[in-house]
Structures are given as C-alpha cells and as structure tokens.
Symmetry: D2
Subunit: 335 residues, 4 copies
C-alpha cells in the first residue's frame, strides 16, 4: 500500500500516522521529495481499511498494491482448488456442464430434462425453485416443492443438483442440495455469504451484474473466511450500455481470475446473452478461453415454450452444443 501525503504535512499528525501504521505490524518506508512525500507500507495490508487512511487531513491519496483477498489468493495457495461432485471434478482440468431449465415447473418437466441432458453428457442438473424476479407480479418459483422435484430428478438420474438460495431463512431446505447457487443479485448479500461459510456445501457464486472481479473475489473471501473453501465462481455477464444482448459476457474474466485465484470458474452464456442463438458460440468461446465448465439453460417442450425465457435452448440444441464443446476441448486444454 502506498500513501501519498499532502505537501508539508503537519509533523504531529504524521507521527501519529506512523505510530498507528507500526501498531498494525506494518513497516513504513518514507520517500521524501521536494513536491511530495510517499509512504510505502510493507507487510500484510489486507485488513487495512483504505478509506480510513484516505480520510486523514495530511493524506492526498492511497493506492492499494497488494490484493485485499487472502484465502482466495493464488499467491498463498498456488494449486487449483478441485471440487468433487460425484459425477466429476470441477477445477481439476476436466470440463463440467451443468444444465437444466430456468424454473422447475412439474415433476415430468424436470425429470424429462434431467434424463435428456444426462444423455447428452451434462454432469449436473440445474433448476430454479426460488426465482428472483424483477416484478412482484411474475412467477416466483415453486419454492420448497421445486427442491423436492429436483431431488426426485436426482434420484432418477444420479445427477447432482444445483439450485439458488435467495435468503438465509431458506437454508434448511437445501440440506440435500449438492451445490448451492448464490445469484448475481445476492453476490453482496453479506449475511447470506457468512451463513454459507459455515456450511460444508460447495457454493456456486455468480458475479453481480455491476460487480468488479475484485468484489467477486471479496465475496468468495466472505464464504471462505467462515471455513468453507469450496467456492465456484461464475461469470454471467455485466451491465453495460450495449442493448443488443441482455448483458455483456466478460470472457476476459476467465484468464484474469485464473491468474488471481485458485478457485474454479464457470460461465453462464444463457443469462449473459439472453438469446438462445448466442448460447452455442459463447459456450465455445468460454471453453476456448479456459473456463472450467458451463451452466446452460435447457427447456424441454417447445409447445410450452411460453414458460421459458428466450435464452433457453432445446435438448437437441444442447446435444449439438455438447458435441461442439467436446470436440474443441482437447485443443483448448493444451493452452
């Protein structure tokens, strides 16, 4: 951390600052110039609140140089985190595809999709039981009953299940869920993250639509600080000025995150683009960019397509996608 002081700082205030920094266990190197004085703070600055220092009268600016996350930091944990989900391993060099409908709607719907995506090679089943909807007048999900139906589909197919939690009061319903998803809107629901840090479930943490990668890692850090180190990061598009796609899928996030953290990273091209025709090319691009897997929306019944968003693809389209992904993976994995 580097602290730039204002010109001619008050001597007493500077001494106070130096004492306080030393009391935090930091060593301080002072570069005094004619126009400016710079303090270089060396040591563990991850718990130093940058805003506190900026507020001081004698300080002009503060720049963080070390990352503020520790448990998630690849520097302190060089090996990839690998999460075994029974049907495969996420983060260990394999490529896992999670597939299923936007919302669980009925037993036959979720069971049919589960069988279908399994046949195409998916290793996990997704489906929304609790649905975060912008409008209070839109369908809010089957809730507890939705989770029950997902578990039936799991029993039928052997596919582990992933589903989203919206509030920590729902946690007891997730006991048999294999991976708990935290949606983009809850990425900074810190009370929820703390509770999930006390569980032993893998957590699929989606990037908020206006959150930086550093903030995503800090939210992972919330979960990991509680003792749960099994966090899967998910890039699902960020909000920009472009309106042709629902969000802008930030695939550079994959190699950037791979460099900063040992946690696995998957990509959700369905929500990011909001258009079924874009799911295949973006799934291939994500694989090529080095993702550890995908999460894909699949609906099963074109006649009832009214109940699915425009970003869902059919089982046939999903089968094609799986074939395409499988054929480029051997090449991509080499780089």
């Amino acid at each position: 951390m580097v602290v730039l002081l204002k010109q001619n700082p008050n001597k007493k205030q500077l001494d106070n600052l130096m004492d306080w920094l030393h009391s935090l266990g930091l060593s301080v190197h002072c570069s005094q110039g004619e126009q400016q004085t710079i303090l270089g703070l060396v040591g563990d600055t991850s718990s130093v609140d940058i805003d506190l220092i900026k507020a001081l009268d004698i300080v002009e600016d503060v720049k963080r140089i070390q990352e503020p996350f520790k448990n998630a930091n690849r520097k302190f944990h060089p090996d990839n985190t690998v999460i075994d989900i029974g049907t495969g391993r996420i983060g260990g060099g394999d490529f896992q595809v999670i597939a299923g409908p936007c919302s669980v709607e009925s037993e036959s719907q979720i069971c049919e999709i589960a069988k279908s995506v399994k046949a195409s090679g998916a290793s996990m089943l997704r489906g929304g039981a609790f649905k975060p909807r912008t409008s209070p007048y839109a369908f809010q999900g089957m809730r507890a009953e939705g989770i029950r139906l997902l578990l039936e589909a799991k029993e039928l197919t052997g596919l582990p299940i992933v589903t989203e939690i919206m509030d920590l009061s729902q946690l007891s319903l997730f006991e048999q869920v294999d991976i708990i998803q935290v949606g983009a809107r809850n990425m900074q629901n810190f009370e929820l993250l703390k509770e999930l840090g006390k569980t032993n479930k893998p957590i699929l943490l989606k990037r908020g639509l206006a959150n930086t990668l550093e903030e995503l890692l800090m939210s992972a850090e919330y979960i990991m600080a509680g003792g749960n180190e099994r966090v899967i990061l998910c890039e699902r598009g960020i909000r920009t000025f472009e309106t042709m796609t629902r969000n802008t899928l930030d695939l550079s996030a994959i190699p950037v995150l791979k460099n900063l953290t040992h946690l696995p990273i998957i990509v959700d091209p369905s929500h990011a683009t909001g258009k079924s025709s874009l799911v295949l090319p973006m799934a291939l691009a994500a694989a090529a960019a080095g993702a550890d897997g995908l999460i894909i929306e699949v609906h099963n019944d074109p006649q009832h397509a009214l109940c699915d968003g425009p970003q869902s693809i059919t089982p046939d389209a999903f089968d094609t996608l799986m074939g395409a992904v499988k054929s480029i993976l051997p090449v991509c994995m080499k780089y």
Copy 2:
C-alpha cells in the same frame, strides 16, 4: 405492448398466440404489412412477462409501451405520497434532511452527533448498526447494540431514526426504528422486500448501483404490493467508468422519477461522491433539481476521523450546508 412478428408466421402458432393474449384479457390489433406484421396489445399488460412472448418462434421482438409498475405509478395515483415522520413530512413540499454518522460507534458519539445535527436543522438521525462491507475483515457494525444506542439518541433529542436492515432475520430488532433503510446492495433482495411490504414502517429504498430507475420502481412495487405504500426512494449514485468520484450521482433521476411516480425522492450525496468536498455542491444541486430531501453523513470528532469514511463532513460543515440549502430552497420550490 407491441409484438413484432417474423415474416410469414405459421398460421396455427399465430392463432395460439392470439388466443393466449385474449385469455389474458387483452385486446389485440393486428397491422399487417408486406414486410412485417405488428400486434398492438391494448389493456393491462403489467403482469405480462415480456420474455415469455419473446421466446416464441414466430416473434421477432416485443416492446413494452406501458410501465410495468402500478401501485407506484403516478398515472394511477396523481397526488404525491406524503409520509409524516413526526418532526416533518417527506414528500409534501417540505424539504427534510436526515443526518448522522456512517456507523454507530459509541453512546457519546451518536448522542453528540444527534444533538449537533438537530441544532443545525436536521429532522432525522441516521446511523449504521448493521454495516454491509466489501471485505469480511472490515468492521461489520455494532448490530443490535447499535440500534439500542440510536434509540437512546432518539430519546435524548426527539429525532426519529433511520437505519439499515441487511437481512429479514433482523426485522424484530427494528420495531422501534422509525424508517427502515434498504441499502443499494439489497435493492433486489426480493425476499426482504416482500417482508417489508407486510410491515407498517416507512421504507427508505436506495437505488442499486447498477439498477435502472424502472428497476427501482419495480422494487418499490414489491413493497407496495404487500400493502405498505410508504416508500421513500433514494438516489445515491450509479456505477460508471468514471473513477474521480466513487459513483456518478444521477440527479436527472429526480425529475424523471417525479414524473413517473408519486413517491418522494431524496438524495445521498455522501455515498455517491465518496468525497467530503463534494457533499455541499451536490446537496445544493439535488435541492435545485427538486429532491424532497437529503441524507448526509456527518462525523463528530476530527481527532478520531480514522473511524469515518472520506465522504463524511464535520458538524460545522453540516451547519454551513444546512444554511446554504435553506437559502436556495425558497427559490427552487417555485419551479
């Protein structure tokens, strides 16, 4: 709502769509051209899920023309909502200023600030008990004890109190709180909004840092749909590419919202800008743009400024701000 069909739509699918639209109580006007066919849907489309229609094979695009919010809509409720908070009315043409520290830290701190901001003309006291912090290693607030201290300051000064809730499990602690604040990160915590819709407390709903004004109104709609119509909207800056300020304060939001909704709108220049030197000019600008009030961070002890963010102003600066605001209000209120 306007539906643009693809060229040469399948007759049977079009009939199915028409039947379904009629079943929703909508009347449909069809404009058939050589190159395109347009359906104009007339009636209450607020509960129609635009994504459902977009997903249909025969549909190229759908454009919403009516607003999707009802309870919050000025068209159906032309008169301003006015919320009486004892020391004043929010939304009734008066201008209310809520002031206080970022975090409650001690009895003496909160009580001194309360007395000071009251003397300068604030009509409510704010202070954080539960603090949403990006880092798990940063101070998380005094929690229940913080609320207790706020209530002491209320007893001492008579100022009603505003404080933030972070999770619905905390709701029982807010029984004596006068206004419950929903922070920017929780603007789309829909489970929380639903619970708050069942209370009879005024809710201060902050705009999420990447949420549109329509989404802000939809979140207000969640609370109002539950029966609680006393919602105060708060503009507190949005996330953009500019880095000189923490966020970009969107003051156009004030006249835009005034036109769309009858709910009161206040502005938080402290969090939006993140710099104490910008609080006064942005407070004046908010008043000039037609806001119903302000929420301002004030810290009381420059010696202990380490515990306050760089966006806080001192009681003296707050006193100057109140003087400035009072002097331009009589002019602004005329327009």
Copy 3:
C-alpha cells in the same frame, strides 16, 4: 509515480531501469520489503509513458500519483482562467448562458431565435451549421451557409456566436466565429485539437460520452500545449446503462474539475437529458453545483417542431429558465 517490482527482480534489469529513470531527470526512492520492492519516482513525471514501464519484465504494476496534465492544472496555475467574450466573461464568477437552435435552418429562424434569447438574457448564440448525425440519411446541416446565417444573426443582435467544427479542413470557415465548439465525438480527434491549439479562438470542448474527466483535461492539454490557453470545458452527459435519459448528466464533474483545473466549466442539459421537460431542473442543478454557465437548445416555432429534437425548449420556456437561474445564482455564488 510508484513502481511495484516483481519478487526478486533481475539485478541487471533493475540497474537498467534505474539508469533510465535517472536519465529522465527523476529521483528514485527504493523501499525494499520482504515480499515486494517499491520504487517511488519523484520529479516531473507528466511525460513518462506509464505503459512503457508496465511492459518491463521486472515490473508488476505502476501507479501514477501526479496528474499527467500541466497547462490545465490548477496546482501550477491557481487563478481561474477568465475568457472575455464581449458580452460577458466566462470563468470570472459571472454566469453566462449560450442559447440557440440545434441546427441553423433559415435566416428568419436563426434571427428570430437570436432576438428572443437575447431578450431573455442569453449572452451568446449557438446554432449547428455542421451536424454530426449517427445516420448518413439524416440532415447533415447547412454547412458554410449555416455559418453565414449565424453571422447575420450576430450582426443583428450583437450576440457572439458558438458553432461546432467537425473537421480541420473546415477551419477557414470559422474565422469570424467567436467560440469554436468541439463536439463530444471529436473530443479525442487529436489532429483537430492540435490545429485548434494554433488558433487564437476560445474553444468550447465537450466531454466525450465515454471519456473520463482526466481524458477531458488531457484533450484540453492538447489545445493548450499548442499555445491556445482559452479552453472552456463542457459537461454534456455520459453513457451509462440507464435508458430513461439519453445520457447521464454528471454534475459532480463541476466541483471535481473546479478543484483540478483553472479552466471554466459549463453544462449542456439539453443534450445530456434528451428531454425538454428535464432542461429546467438540470439547469438549476448545474448552477447550484457551481457551473460557470449553460448551453441550452431553444427552438422557435412549435408548428415546425418536426425540425427540432425533443430536447429543445421554446423561447417562453427559456425565458422562465433564465428567470429561475437568475434567482438562485445570488445564493449559489456564495458557496
């Protein structure tokens, strides 16, 4: 400027870097820690290319601490730049309003508007002769003839004129123009800026719709580096995700720029918002935030409103706006 080195930097490469930095006239302070080494560069770093240093093998990151602009920097030029335009002074504590139509369309149109806005108190006339239009099929302006008509209106009313240049090949047509406007799309047309730096005309430089305030100041620096110090900055809204307004007017830019530079700053609420109903409240807010003036679109003929954008106000609305602005200015100027 602060350079963070990678761990265990190559000794020879480090020596090369140090020699190069010294050759630039900088003194270098080295803070060697266990985990990282930091170089603090002290001296004039405004011409150091930050990217060059970042590209070195031994460098992990570089942070600029001094601003990269000099001529525009208030630190080196504490007094406000004041530009005398005959009918008033911009930047000297007065408040100037530039008004006129989006496009010059005919002699009677521009002359009538000129008389009308003068009567309401405008001190300059604006009008587009060369029009940057997104579509090649839209009206591209009257070009040279438009400038001729502006000059007629100037002769009639005595109002100095402001009009936009789109390419440096047009420069000879601007000899009698009082202020040359550089539009948002040309803010980083560096060849044009260099040419304008050789003229002795005041330049109205509009912020690009996705440009930071630092970039705006660097573009001003381009003009000033050529010897022309009379630059007027103009905030006209930035591109964000919000769609209710055409752009998001960033009024915080005013106090931020006032702190960084001595150049005057005016605001264009017409283009920023794109809606005539928002022009008055945003004009008042700009004045309250400390702007040195406004530039406002006014159209004169409601029957021919087809030729004006939705952001234009009528002469009557402009008269009301001028009254409102005049009544709050005495209060705002005090702060």
Copy 4:
C-alpha cells in the same frame, strides 16, 4: 416503427402527422384502445428521424422496429461480403490474422517483425504511423515516414499492410496502403467516413469504446452510402466499470453482428485487454465465437520493450498463438 400517442390527441395535429407520414411513403395502421392509441408505420423507415416524431406534442413515445441501416443489413444482402486482400480472403470462411507492432519505429524493426509474423502465418502486416495518444506529450508516431517504412516491409515480404488514418487531410499518403484503419476514437468522425466512402480501399472500422453495435453499423453505413462496400468491422473492447482489463472485450458482438450484417468481423484482443498474458486465450475465444480473423500486436525486441505497450506479445508467443488458433479452427468452423 411504432408511435404511441398521448391520451386524447388533438384531432388536427393527428391529421397533420398522418399526412406527413403518408408523404414519406409509409402506410400507417392505427390501433385505437381505451387508454392509448398506437400507430404502426409500415414501409421503409430507415430515413425517418425518430427524434423528430418524439418531439411532437401528441406523441408519448416512438419505438423503432426495423433496423436503421440498409447497405450493411443482412436482410437485404444475405450473402457474406468477401474481401480479397491478395494473400487471402476476409469474410469468405477463411480466418485471417493481421499482426505487427503498435508503432512503426525503424526500418529494421518493421522489416524484422514483418518477416517473423509472415513465417508464423500472418496474412497481413499492421503498424501505426499516425498514433492517437491521450497525452500531447507522448510519442505521436513517425507519420509519413512510418507509411514509407511499412511499404518497404510490404515489398520485402509480400504482406499487404494495414495502418490507421487520423484525419482526412492524410488521405493522399494512404494511396499504396492496402487496408485503411479507422480507430475507435474516430468511429464517429463522420467527415472522415464520408471521404473514405469515396475511395476504393477496404476499410477496417474499429468499434468506438462506448459505441453500440447499431452505431458501429451506422458508421459502416456512412462508408457504404458513399459507394465503398468493402468494410471490415472490428471488435476491440468497450468501456465498462471493470478495471482489471483496459476494456471489456465483447465477444457476443461476433454472433450478434453475423446475424445483422453481411460484413466480416475481426477481433483485436491486444488493445481490448491491454495485457499480453490475455491475448492468447482471448484470441482462441474469438475464433471459437466465429470471428473472421484477428488483429494482434507483436513486438520484436524484448531488450527494447520500453517502446511497446504491455499488450504486445513476442514473435515466439505469436507463433504459439498461431498454432493454437490453427488447431481449433477446423472444429469451430463447423458450428
């Protein structure tokens, strides 16, 4: 185009509007509901100025449904545009890689890089002669001399050359240049685009960093409206709130543009990410997403790396990249 009228529109004004719309050759379908009246305009609306209609008193809103671009529109030109550059074809199903240094610096530099990238399989040479730099104090390029050196490298290697024009006054210097590049900052320099529309050179048009895909296509339309149909689009990252990468590479742009237009699309991962370590994964991702080619920055001399930005890769890294791209192309081209 759909026009939503305000409630109870003035009869005479409505008749005027209808007459005007008919005079434009449009047929108008009127859907009259209890709460609202909708006009559906059918016909060629590409030259209708949407803002003109929005400005009318009786109009509440206007929504464009047809795209405003014609020459660039795939609907009216279903076959891909293919541009033959001698060493290969862009847009015809092949994949072309343009490579070279950020700036031309010397004869030996550009000639060595040219030989090297040719050996690795590049089909064109890029190099900056005129350099748009944020700071007036940074190196501005070798200008005319830079173009001369590029032509020497072309003679030596047979590689066609691509270089950027910054102002239309430079056009005569580009006579022997094979492809003229329009940089991101000039994407809406309409005077330049018009002049380029009169040439018979292929134009490489880079997306502006805050421009929508529709605006990119409208700028292509400017060139095409002048008679020059050989436009190559280039995605090079957009400005967002994320700071870990210089810009956010929007790879969804590829399939979106492929659907809207027949023009070829290439990707610039070097400028988009600003980091050499991200160039390979993003190049692979671009190929996987369906791009027609890449433009890559390569520098040749690590000892003199000070003269290259951090986004440049070495000839060895480029050789690896070419191998990787070639190995996944046969798979990607199938989808």
